[in-house]
Symmetry: none
Subunit: 214 residues, 4 copies
């Protein structure tokens, strides 16, 4: 069983497909957008079923009813296909809780995130993070499109808690968010312990304790 797959994806991945590209269409047969879609769907299915390491381009091609040549014509390598497939799936989860009560917000948010990770989206999300470790361009996208917007959303809410006095002004929000999410990411990726509602509760409690004393 092969373990490594991330050879030379240091180069940027061509994913952008702007609509106006059809304008410059030359003479020949136009790109088959159906095939493209089938390939991405197939990639996601295979990925979910067997994991990244056991995902082969042959398997994707076969399931998509496409040929490997078609895959490699449009994506530079296996990782690029899978990553583009993942990108669409990991887009949205529940918005940050905003009940007006700090303790409640934290607990609800952690509960929701753990729920999101438990289930098939968790598997995909793990693959998503893994992919980001191997490809700088994808890592950038991971931060910009996923991590940062969600942190901004959370920080806005925490800012309101600060204004209400529920949260001390001098609390480092970056650190607070790391304290909340870090342990959950850790268990997700290292798998050394259960990742369930109880754990979410404990992490929330601990986070809150570290705040109250400050």
């Amino acid at each position: 069983m092969s373990v490594v797959e991330s050879l030379s994806n240091s180069m940027s991945i061509e994913v952008k497909e702007s609509c106006e590209e059809t304008a410059q269409r030359g003479r020949g047969r136009p790109r088959d957008e159906v095939a493209r879609t089938r390939i991405l769907e197939a990639a996601l299915e295979v990925l979910q079923e067997v994991g990244f390491a056991n995902t082969t381009t042959d398997a994707i091609a076969e399931r998509a009813g496409a040929s490997k040549a078609t895959i490699y014509r449009w994506w530079s390598n296996k990782a690029a296909v899978v990553i583009e497939a993942l990108r669409k799936q990991v887009s949205r989860d529940t918005p940050f809780a905003d009940t007006g009560d700090l303790v409640n917000d934290i607990h609800l948010q952690l509960q929701g995130f753990v729920e999101f990770l438990t289930g098939w989206r968790g598997r995909v999300f793990k693959a998503f993070i893994a992919a980001a470790q191997n490809d700088p361009a994808f890592a950038e996208s991971f931060r910009t499109d996923w991590i940062l917007p969600r942190r901004e959303e959370a920080k806005e809410i925490f800012e309101r808690h600060k204004e209400r006095g529920a949260l001390a002004k001098n609390v480092d929000l970056e650190l607070l968010l790391d304290a909340m999410y870090g342990p959950i990411y850790f268990r997700l990726l290292a798998g050394h312990g259960r990742l369930d509602a109880d754990f979410a509760k404990s992490v929330g409690d601990m986070t809150i304790r570290s705040l109250v004393t400050s």
Copy 2:
């Protein structure tokens, strides 16, 4: 089959056998500990030079002056060798701090870990985590040969702090460790913020605050 090897954290080539090791020594030629050490060292060198993805068992074997068969006799696959090699080095270069002072221990440990992650070993470590997400066998090795032994090491020290009364008896050590390491893993993998001594200090402070109130 994974190779559990939490017997001796001795840093050198000592063939010294502790009492319980003589028990399992039957007849026949004993395991060549020198070869074992050479293999781990070679793995580390290859890892450093060509990166995780380009590390091959043949290269390790050749550099170690050992045969592939010997590698596969003692480690279930390439991943296991590489993981153990790196973990050994960490245990050696960054043993869990044991100064007798809880606060100090936590800070020192986090400083050491962040330092470890800054540099080429950090890149390798990220590759490990990525690989673990993709391949169940690798994930198992990663947990068994890296995560769990390190945690055991830390928990023993915390247990002593509990006995001394520096730490409340009812503290959940698993949770404590997640609180310490989680934020660091998070920044390592998501890259949304700096991963330096200051951050380590902040995480340590926060962890300790959450303990004092409990």
Copy 3:
């Protein structure tokens, strides 16, 4: 899976496709007949230089400028390649005589076979037979890829002699072939007597005598 390939005894690199070959040509890149030829030639060269026991698939692949995968796509194992390579050469250098005269055909064929066995290919052939005794898979290849095709070739010619009336209809061709080749195999393997043109002549004479009276 053994590769039956009794289609074209063409001695060169012709990619010419006969009528029934187009039938099995589906879509996709067609088999590279040049590579196939190169592999068989390389096998023969390696065989000659280092002997059967020291012939490796890697060596054949490298010399042929092919990949091992290609070899194993078309031949079930090393033995099959080597057997086919040698058999092809024999069919080419020593095609079954077809002069129209039965007596002549038999004598020429036995002369050619004895000549073949005298020299390096005789040594290789002995190694083949030895290997066939020890390994069922090899034995199967040896029968399918060597013995049977050669016998079919001969039987076709004998059938024509039957139609011309030179050979009685009730002659058992299997037995006839055993009578011709058996004594030669016997001396080759047991080495109890000379294996030369005189012997071939004598065996031919004796075989013919046994036919005339029948």
Copy 4:
């Protein structure tokens, strides 16, 4: 599944074990003759069960309750052990038939030989012949100890038939014997057709036909 095993047995095989060797016994523990016997018996058993190609020294050692070192101390390689083990088993079969009637003698002899080959001794005999192809020393022994004595025996009987006038004086007995045994050896080793009483009968008939007309 490995096919080849005959690497470097071109060197002569040390088998001689004269009884007076015990006289020159030195200081240490004397050779364990029981172990030697066990090894040879084990070799024969393994050989019969799995064939030469699948016979491993480990398997022999394990079954014999011996160690590989002991095997290699007394035999130069795997072939040497197996050959010595075989040598004793293939020693005797039925003596050449001598009924006074030439036709009868030939048929009886061929029947007996085919019977001998059918059954477990046939398997061993095949391995015996195969071994002779790879080792000159063993080939010599095969000829001297097995082939030639039996041919002499047969020739004596045929000489008496000549004196009685049942056989023409000018018949080449060597050739006659090759005609009788060759086809049987051929089928035994190439396995392209049945090797049974019917075949023996046919070969006998054919041999006799070739004689009568001469």
